[in-house]
């Protein structure tokens, strides 16, 4: 019923799908800990994906494309800073409008400059593919983005738990007035967190492009940023749990691609498998009832 080839294909696709989602989660986690609910991650991902595809196609270099993604992340972060922190706008609504903006802009630029072209992609570690060891076979289908994700994971884990910045980010989200009264600049702390978030989200978009065809499809992120919002709550703002839960979601998401290779799974339409990760987010939100956001999330600081 379930054979080893199926399992290997499933796990390999899942790990590929996990990389962009978990990178977005790491960013969103830091941002929410600092007291900013960044719904604009979806838009950052989309714009990052577009700029990577654009640069990749016109220069032929995936490395330049990756840096273009990071530069877009910086720009998005500055825009969002203007909205969330400088003008104290409502984070949910303005984040949503930022997403609409990004969706329209990426779509319009796409149809003007690069409809349907393919670009350079990341090569997988093919050198291990001759072995019989299933774990090595799974690893051989991954690419360098997995290592990037693991490095970011270590970075986020260290920042959150071991540094001055992590402590202050936590305080900014839980008791903003404590930070203000101790004479620290709370906006600076939230700004750093927001920049990390949008840069990570944009580079997750880059990886989405570089691990698939190298081209851009309007709306290609398909709610991954929103799933990351859910995962961060489920993980209770803990990077290790975020990594674990995004792997579980990737396993669910992969079913639509591998479902037809298995008799039992192929009885359900791939379109319905497609809905499963989103249903799972709602289901898990119910299952972990009572996860409280950091106290100041979503509330702009009063001057």
């Amino acid at each position: 019923m379930v054979d080893s080839i199926f399992i290997i294909a499933w796990l390999a696709i899942s790990i590929q799908l996990m990389v962009p989602i978990s990178i977005t989660c790491f960013g969103e986690l830091i941002c929410e800990k600092s007291g900013t609910l960044n719904i604009g991650v979806e838009g950052c991902m989309l714009l990052g994906a577009f700029s990577t595809a654009f640069t990749g196609i016109y220069t032929g270099s995936i490395i330049l494309g990756f840096f273009a993604g990071i530069a877009t992340g910086v720009l998005c972060g500055l825009c969002l800073t203007l909205l969330y922190l400088v003008r104290n706008m409502d984070q949910i609504v303005s984040g949503l409008m930022f997403n609409l903006f990004a969706f329209g802009l990426a779509g319009a630029l796409h149809s003007s400059f690069l409809s349907g072209q393919m670009g350079p992609t990341l090569k997988s570690f093919g050198f291990l593919s001759t072995t019989n060891n299933p774990i090595l076979q799974i690893i051989s289908q991954q690419n360098i983005s997995l290592i990037y994700m693991l490095l970011l994971f270590v970075f986020v884990l260290l920042v959150v738990n071991k540094t001055w910045l992590g402590l202050h980010i936590k305080a900014a989200g839980e008791r903003p007035l404590a930070i203000v009264s101790s004479g620290k600049n709370i906006l600076l702390i939230r700004f750093i967190a927001l920049m990390i978030c949008s840069i990570l989200a944009a580079s997750a978009g880059s990886i989405l492009v570089a691990s698939s065809s190298g081209g851009f499809v309007p709306g290609m992120t398909a709610g991954r940023g929103f799933i990351a919002l859910g995962i961060v709550v489920l993980a209770r703002w803990n990077p290790l749990s975020a990594l674990f839960i995004s792997f579980i979601f990737a396993l669910i998401q992969a079913l639509q691609f591998v479902g037809n290779q298995n008799d039992l799974l192929s009885t359900v339409s791939p379109h319905l498998w497609n809905a499963l990760p989103y249903i799972a987010v709602i289901g898990l939100l119910v299952a972990i009832k009572g996860a409280e956001y950091p106290k100041a999330v979503g509330i702009p600081l009063k001057k």
Binding site: L37, I39, L82, L83, R87, M89, D90, I92, V93, S94, L96, M97, F98, N99, L100, F101, F103, G104, L105, G107, A108, L109, H110, S111, S112, R175, P176, L177, P218, A222, G223, F226, I227, L229, G230, V233, S269, H271, L272, N274, A275, Y278, I279, V281, I282, L285, V286, K289, G290, A291, E292, Y293, A296, I299, P300, L301, K302
Partner: protein, 337 residues
């Protein structure tokens, strides 16, 4: 009031930024303006589309106005609308020749309304019962609805050759009126806005909703049950969004299409915000947004810009109105401590 300094600032900055974006696409902004006007109110066909779209946007805006007044976030109008449309298109095929026409027509409207309303109030229920963030759960509904509609189009009741479901029965289609100004969708949208205005300002429910939005602690102390209000609010919000989808099927498309919605759910949120959550102000604002949305469909033919730029216009307008504090939200005191 209309020519307040803040409003002028925000309009000017919107126009400047949009012109820059359009110039970077290699098009003259004035051409775009002319194309937008011609493509939205230039002739009877476009005017009909604009009136219909403004009716749809009114309904999706109401789906945001009601919860936002209670400081609840329904970001799933898009999905609730798609689910309403999916139900309507399925029943429109299934009920042909099974029941008397008026009865089955009523059934279609009722069940589509209930689909959206129940999905939405389910999210509200999860919020009050399990503390599941309604921001995340309603956003997820959008993507679930897209998958369900793709499943219906490709597997449940696919039409031959084209990417759409089988068309609904001829007897269920809402005919074009004698005068284009009496567009049925526009009239329904307007009536719903008026109805909601009366509900929000003249009834106990409306008062409780607004009280909950302005101060949840005070409203709890005065005996309002926030859980009940939350579920009812989401029920009506989802219902209005689903009604928009139903009308799209019955009066415009006659079958479910993939991506039939040009982000009407998200545009509705924009309408609600610009109208400052006032159901009467929704009517003119929805018309303006409908002009932007319908007009941008003609941009491709005239200037070569993708119609998706319409989303940028709307988002930029809303963001700059928020930026200059024309639209603002009040927050409860002492929350930063």
């Amino acid at each position: 009031m209309l020519f307040d300094k803040k409003i002028i600032f925000s309009l000017v900055s919107t126009i400047c930024i949009l012109s820059l974006i359009i110039l970077s696409l290699g098009v003259n902004p004035l051409d775009v303006l002319v194309a937008l006007l011609k493509g939205s109110v230039g002739n009877n066909y476009f005017l009909k589309q604009t009136l219909m779209t403004s009716g749809i946007l009114m309904l999706t805006a109401l789906a945001a106005v009601i919860p936002f007044s209670a400081r609840l976030w329904n970001l799933g109008a898009e999905g609730q609308m798609i689910l309403g449309a999916a139900t309507a298109s399925y029943l429109g095929v299934f009920l042909v020749d099974r029941m008397p026409v008026p009865l089955s027509f009523g059934t279609i409207i009722l069940f589509s309304f209930l689909t959206g309303a129940l999905i939405s109030s389910f999210c509200g229920f999860l919020k009050v019962k399990f503390n599941a963030s309604e921001v995340v759960s309603t956003l997820m509904v959008n993507f679930i609805a897209l998958s369900v509609s793709a499943w219906m189009i490709f597997e449940l009741i696919p039409a031959k050759m084209v990417q759409r479901t089988i068309s609904i029965g001829k007897e269920f289609r809402i005919k074009d009126p004698v005068s284009i100004y009496l567009n049925p969708v526009f009239i329904v949208g307007m009536l719903c806005c008026l109805l909601l205005y009366v509900i929000m300002t003249r009834t106990k429910y409306g008062f409780q909703t607004r009280a909950m939005g302005s101060n949840i602690y005070a409203s709890k102390l005065s005996g309002i049950n926030p859980s009940v209000i939350t579920v009812i609010t989401f029920f009506f919000a989802g219902g209005f969004a689903a009604l928009a989808g139903t009308l799209i099927i019955l009066a415009r498309d006659f079958s479910l299409l993939l991506n039939f919605s040009s982000n009407y759910g998200y545009l509705g949120i924009g309408v609600a915000l610009v109208a400052r959550l006032n159901p009467l102000a929704v009517i003119p604002i929805a018309f303006i947004f409908a002009m932007l949305s319908v007009g941008s469909n003609s941009l491709q033919a005239i200037t070569g810009i993708s119609p998706m730029i319409g989303n940028v216009f709307v988002a930029m307008l809303v963001l700059s109105l928020m930026f200059f504090k024309v639209i603002r939200f009040k927050y409860p005191e002492n929350i930063n401590g």
